[in-house]
Symmetry: D3
Subunit: 287 residues, 6 copies
């Protein structure tokens, strides 16, 4: 069960309300790198947890914190919308370019659909959809997904911090940026704790690796062509593989297969007659 | 520019066409952990590349390979749909439970909308949408996103491998699983090559870290309550942080802020009258 | 069957075309509280009608009216787009802030994709999707859904009315607001006519109510915590229930269940090895 | 802030795991009438609350309860997936029709993408999207939206209850059905408490009603045609209006406007030449 | 305005209700090639009509007919759902494979969310979204879009016709297939009437064609590579162009441009430090 | 397999970066008439090809070219974003209306989520979704879909050309417009080559046409009503049909069917009691 004390995790104040910044903050609420995503992602990882029970507790702790972050950001959006332009009067716009910027740059739906409040949408008013909730049941894959979410989330927060000069907003973002710092560490620490970086690769590590094709599993395939193409060189083209299981190699791409040829159109699928007549007789996916 | 030789990267053959497995393979094409996603993700990371040019080449190489993977899987779907039930005859179903399973388990759209061919949808017929293309402009965030994609992608491929006993399909999947092994390594190798694991955190590392709130950036916040709650212990609650910049600590959650109170409804947003009358006078987000 | 006389239900005229207002009107066409939604919602409720046939006729009447409303709004969008800025000339923008507002605030897709006409999208260009068409087959649930649609729709229309000072637009909106007044009444009147407010609750009223858990069906559960928390008091915490079947009560939240523990990862789902080893032995969802 | 004790609100047990029922339960998690929707809807209504503060507390209480409901249902899905068919062996299917039904009827993504766990999707694997979160800023509109959500939610729960004969599932659903009973009452009680049913209509009641068109605001418009059409009769065609402000009346539909004629295509929008030549000269939306 | 007589355009009867076929019919309602799409597409083309007024009338006529088609199909879905399995009893399934097929193959949402009625979704339960409504404002582009919709729509209808052996369904589909025959002709006839096939290309024909690059506008670019590649030959590689304005030619692909190099990461976008240091100095999109 | 030389198909240069034009270019990348759509559409048509193999080659050639177009446009977006406003300083906005226009008119996500790079979204930030990939398996339907895509694509490109006065952008668009000219021809040439315009209709032409209802397959149905309605006249109401198989005719609409009446609500779907009692006894879809 879940409980609330109704208080903000960290104070939210806005000195100069700015409806364009309200719109930008929406990205941190309902964008794919935003807080709704991480809250739901950690919830579903916890509820589907089939491994060390300790990580269920850890995930539930952080996801309840993330709800508090949505709450902070939603409050920030509402405060930035105070005094947003209530009408489109051409004369007023003509005399105040900032009003023109606000009119063009704020999100009308925050007014039209929400009455000057936050919505679960991104900075373009696109609603968040839950296909972005990654919970694969493989803890390493999920921890990388979480690190990604916190990395793109912190990147977003720093860009918002750069954009505003409102001290209240900078203070709130400084708090959120700090939490993203911790959360990045936290998810990667699970990998270190559970199996170490060498033990985690390849994900999943419970599949018998000798079943995978042994000729291409540590080979960088280079598809570039041209008279002056040199093989790409990097950590990923030679030397020991990161998991210590093999050596990296480099190859220019060449097909192992042939042109696929599907069978003729199924009569009951009603292709064009000429298409049916012109079709090869049999499904011969390779010659 | 891009070129093709029209051949499959690796041979695709199906000994026993199975329309239910065709449906499952769709997840590897148009699912969020599928090949359309990685192909487009690497393309947009390459095209927006604003860092070492070498990684643009690397990304373009791998993305052109991923297109070949969609091609292989699309061919596999079409071959598994050969001979799919063309009609729903109750008598035939009554006499053959396998036919019943096929009818229920295949995706009708592969027949109705595509004439027995693959589509850019997942195993439930949900179309892929490009919000899943992560290209943040921060190379570390993007490499974690890529590692995630290959980790969830390889997990999916191993589940498909487990599900089928068709030798052709097992062979194809063995190839794709091997490539996912390499690709996981490849993206993490960029991080090692570019900055090392210690140098990469926190992402982004170009933000001045002293601007972030120093009291919570290495603290695990534990929101669990209950009479018998003990502090969670793990790699993430004590000891040096992964980036070497600080020490982890643990705290039970407590609010830094107060209950937020927004201003009264804007008259022009037309809330209910009683709601307006009952509203507090001023926006006082914290007391 | 359906027929048309090609005429507008009510005159639409625009004295001062305004492309930003055109964008706002899109919310009333393709927003979730817009006219496409109600038109399709009433259609599907009518076509799936399995109750008094009279309501099929009523629904079909109002839905054909709603199509006329989309037509009016689409005409209004097109007229507001007359003379929208055809080009982005920096010098012109520099000299006319209103042009800047228009450039920023109009929806480019109305020009780029529709050639200065309306589209079935909301004010942010997000297309309407038909998951918003509620037709549950339970007439009380559907009538509440319809009342909701007309309530949010009328709220939207009043906000648009407030925003514009074009007399033609105010006149058109005055008509639409009036129709929303009627439609709110109409759907609630069905509830009154069919079963009265007491007879309608709980929805559905055809489920045997003694099958539902009798200890929590009229209890307000209060999840707030804190040293100074007092029980919430209101019409919903004491006194007779609205349906007259019971008395309201108040309780602070406490779990009836225990921590859930799922079984170990299925081998064929390929979780991480360490995760499998660390998992509890059996699915024991509660202790 | 939010807190958790990690326990289920109500025990969840499954005697006979059934992967088809797992799929159906997904509708109660990620369907439009499901628990993710109500949880997020009440959160955003609370966070955007600009009226009596009491309702912010009430909304937060119930939304934290709804999270516990998602948790219960997610646990139920996972338990129903225990022992789901791990492979598609034609011989086994031939001998066991129930296996055929399971193969066809379970959602493959619960295995392929989630490793036998719940996902934030509906029973067809369609992800929940947050456009379904209604929070208009008008408390009456929002309360009707909430009543709708609980009415369709309870209808769904009763259909699930009817479908299963697992005693554990029936017990859990009996609890959830009871909570939906209370929640329906709760939201309607706000309307009664705040303004009474007569005071609430039309929503919003803060718009000056004399600005709306007085000739059509209490008139049922009947668009049916045919030789034998009689005027529809009902509570909504005569007698006092529900809000007591007027009398209902009935009219057969007739247009107030004329055929709209838009201006010629804008040259810069590049319509077809013949289309431009054939166009009328001026925008004359009505004759 | 729009009117209805409440009658079906063509009789709909179902001799043997079949819930799997109900699911398939959903594709013709809410699929991208279904009837909701054409109805809304023709509506928006009509309402945005800025050319010969005659085509507004024509479009409105056909779109009102299309609503009648949705109505027929929705009725057919409901009739096919009569008697759908109300419960999942393992014993019954074991004894009746057809029941297994129905359980697996029907769409649960038609029961769970709609109470055994049609929904505005496709055969996988994916809701229709209005981005599929093409109305570009260019009449030739729109007529091709309409011809496409009727071509894919008729293809779908013939596949449904092939799948069923219910005489009532075959009769209804025979009617719909015939209407698609007419509608294909109708939209192409507009092109013939307005400008003839030669006059219509390239679409739009109002753009000054000498502004387009003259070296590649009638050249087939062949991107295939390989030792044995021969130039593709066809109507599109030599001879007069279809519009009579030029001659077709063939070329193997070669780039006109160079590798693009973007400028260094913007400091305020917070890329990784190493990425910034490794970046080239200036935006030089081509060398 | 696919290969790249890393070069742009055609040079991309921007003389005056303009973030509003960057936003507009996004429509040509991720809009429904944009380049991602055609690239994926031609890919899936090629991979599902079950007809003359020649068309597989042709499709693969053009789709690899389309990837190069996305690359050009993505480069153009990035170059137009150089120097986009990094902060929202009210004073600066007050003094520069063009800055106001940029702030309002640029897409914030290009900065916030992508670090000043292109994204696979349209000009409103709505992500492309793959339901727009038409590949029906009927070559005529697909060629019309392709012609539509190139017609709406060319229309979009000409509108972009009209909007900008940057010589580099005009040059790039002139190239893309020319390619759209060719591609329109190309797809229509397949129809001419394969069956001629007369042979292609109705699509699909492999369905036995005598199975379709012969009374309505060449009849224009006119649903307009009114005292002064005259029959619509045009190429589509009289004279030989385009396919030469029949004569066009005109009819005013009249129903062939009756009002549908569904059966009573299924008890297990839990409609309202009053609704069940008021329902007719039997499913009688027509009288």
């Amino acid at each position: 069960m879940y409980y609330t004390d109704g208080k903000l995790q960290y104070p939210v104040r806005v000195e100069s309300p700015n409806p364009v910044f309200a719109r930008m903050l929406q990205q941190a609420i309902g964008g794919i790198e935003g807080e709704i995503r991480v809250a739901l992602q950690y919830f579903f990882q916890a509820w589907g947890n089939r491994g060390p029970v300790k990580y269920r507790d850890m995930l539930l702790s952080t996801t309840t914190e993330e709800i508090a972050h949505i709450e902070m950001l939603s409050t920030a959006v509402a405060l930035n919308l105070e005094g947003a332009p209530p009408a489109l009067q051409e004369e007023a716009v003509r005399q105040d370019p900032a009003l023109a910027a606000f009119l063009g740059g704020m999100n009308m739906k925050n007014f039209l659909s929400a009455g000057l409040a936050a919505m679960p949408v991104d900075s373009d008013g696109v609603p968040f959809d839950c296909s972005h909730v990654y919970a694969s049941g493989n803890i390493a894959g999920d921890m990388y997904a979480n690190a990604t979410a916190e990395a793109t989330g912190r990147t977003l927060a720093t860009r918002l911090w750069e954009f505003t000069d409102d001290p209240g907003m900078k203070d709130m973002l400084s708090f959120l940026i700090a939490r993203d710092t911790m959360h990045q560490q936290q998810w990667l620490a699970v990998i270190e704790e559970l199996c170490g970086y060498e033990g985690v690769l390849p994900v999943p590590n419970s599949f018998p690796q000798d079943e995978e094709n042994q000729e291409v599993n540590y080979t960088f395939i280079d598809t570039r062509i041209g008279d002056d193409v040199q093989p790409l060189e990097g950590r990923f083209t030679s030397g020991p593989s990161l998991d210590g299981n093999s050596e990296f190699s480099h190859e220019f791409a060449a097909p192992f297969g042939e042109k696929p040829v599907l069978g003729p159109p199924a009569p009951e699928a009603f292709a064009q007659e000429q298409q049916i007549e012109g079709a090869p007789d049999a499904a011969t996916p390779e010659s």
